[in-house]
Point group: C2
Chain length 154, copies 2
Amino acid sequence: MEKWLDVAKAFAEAKAIDPNLFIGFRLAPDQFPFVRQVQIACDTAKLGASRLTGKEAPTYADTEQTFDQLKERIHSTVRYLDGFSAADFKDTATTTVSTPRWEGRTMTGADYFIEHAIPNFFFHATTAYSILRHNGVNLGKKDYLGQLTQKPPA
Amino acid sequence: MEKWLDVAKAFAEAKAIDPNLFIGFRLAPDQFPFVRQVQIACDTAKLGASRLTGKEAPTYADTEQTFDQLKERIHSTVRYLDGFSAADFKDTATTTVSTPRWEGRTMTGADYFIEHAIPNFFFHATTAYSILRHNGVNLGKKDYLGQLTQKPPA
């Protein structure tokens, strides 16, 4: 996601427009703008780990207004996630997860991760990507997937 | 995804436009149109299961031109996936996966599923959804997530 911000910034500079204009762009009048898509993608990743393990997550004021501030949000989220190890998730498949919005309803950790956390994370990441693509930023599938863990030909 | 097609069809009928117009809509001139996003979402799900298990997947001519034909593509894909059980995936984390595009490079089954199959599936599903949203179709996050496996309040 950080790479997308860099490509969008270079695109804006080449056209002599303010890159931070992208912050407010959206695909539909009643859908969240770019800044909120990035914030929610970060929060979905953060809360996925936090809700499954019970480890407290950092909170943010959601006041980012520039690409540099969004990058710091991404870095901070990655730092939090880097603090987890596989052992932290040992018993999470059967743990009980809920969110304030669910009004007392619960999900198992496995169902929450598969049906809620993963689809939401990729929803907001893809929508952020699509807002840039829709506005002319030259990104491709490789920028979306990032580096794959591949072995060279035998 | 089938629900999204139904909502888009009702939206088009209420406005007296041809619902199949959506088939060709896209978010950027050099990004695939709606029909291709749905086809690739189906194929990513299909190929994810096929590559991990070695079970042959059905092939399609990619000639869908109507919502009804896209629905049949979705149904056919779901029927194929319904033929799998958990046991089919018992040894897939360590299996070796490759695709014609990778020119001999390989991934483990676990890396392929996490880094490639899941992100691509949600990329194309979300982009299909976003094309409808961008064109005014009244969909929301609940239509994206579908029915969650939740327990009622204790």
